[in-house]
Symmetry: C2
Subunit: 150 residues, 2 copies
């Protein structure tokens, strides 16, 4: 998709990404490095946990949700990173075989007062599974470039 700069975005604008199917191997690999809790690592311990089976680390579903949007290329020329995230909520477990995609809504676009070539866009991300359940919701404050003068 075409790159959008800060001034191409407007409140209420929507984007939707392709999906990814999360395998048991990916779930265990990520958890082993970054979130080694039994319900992310060990199918037997996970079956005995309140989740009733292996679930993905929330940090993995978060990173995947972001990666799906980044790889659309929409922010490829404009992204300058992020000062932070608000209101992150893990709403439903993500299990092996689940397929997630990301739906993005532009909440607010705020040009910088001190640096006229950039600003903040607040984007709401929803990671959605194959049953149309929102499994993760968050707001990322993106630092984005304005469109370069020709």
């Amino acid at each position: 998709m075409e790159t959008r700069y800060l001034d191409d975005l407007f409140s209420g604008q929507h984007f939707k990404t392709p999906g990814i199917t999360l395998t048991e191997a990916e779930i265990i690999d990520f958890a082993w490095r970054y979130d080694p809790q039994p319900f992310h690592l060990d199918v037997n311990a996970a079956a005995a946990s309140p989740y009733g089976g292996l679930i993905a680390s929330g940090f993995q579903s978060l990173a995947l949700c972001f990666r799906l949007f980044i790889q659309t290329g929409i922010l490829a020329e404009s992204s300058l990173g992020s000062p932070g995230i608000d209101e992150l909520r893990w709403l439903a477990p993500v299990r092996p075989g689940d397929t997630l995609h990301t739906e993005i809504e532009v909440l607010e676009v705020r040009p910088s007062k001190s640096k006229p070539d950039r600003g903040i866009a607040r984007l709401r991300y929803h990671a959605v599974n194959q049953r149309h359940e929102v499994v993760l919701s968050l707001i990322i404050n993106h630092l984005l470039r304005c469109k370069p003068a020709d």
Copy 2:
């Protein structure tokens, strides 16, 4: 360290983890999977970016900050996952060779009204580098078990 249950935690309690040194290889490997932006992937593009060199994905510093705490074992018997994160702020770049540790403060402990065997602990996490700079701050709402009856 010894496992703490919900009822072992109190507002104002502090924990501090060992550190980890983040290598260029780990930064590029994580970014390639989860956050493929030029300033996380390509040393030359990163040098030309506002960051002046390669920086770690904020999702990686987040996951590492959490992993450092999880591997202390403090929540090994009590953790039941998390409903979400509040007020995540990336405050300074993390570069190859930086060494991070995590400092945790218990902000609030809230037993569940409906399920007396568990509750929510709100913990503030600070990831701190070798220059004592806080590079990342966030609040994780942890769902934790209460101490089992003997």
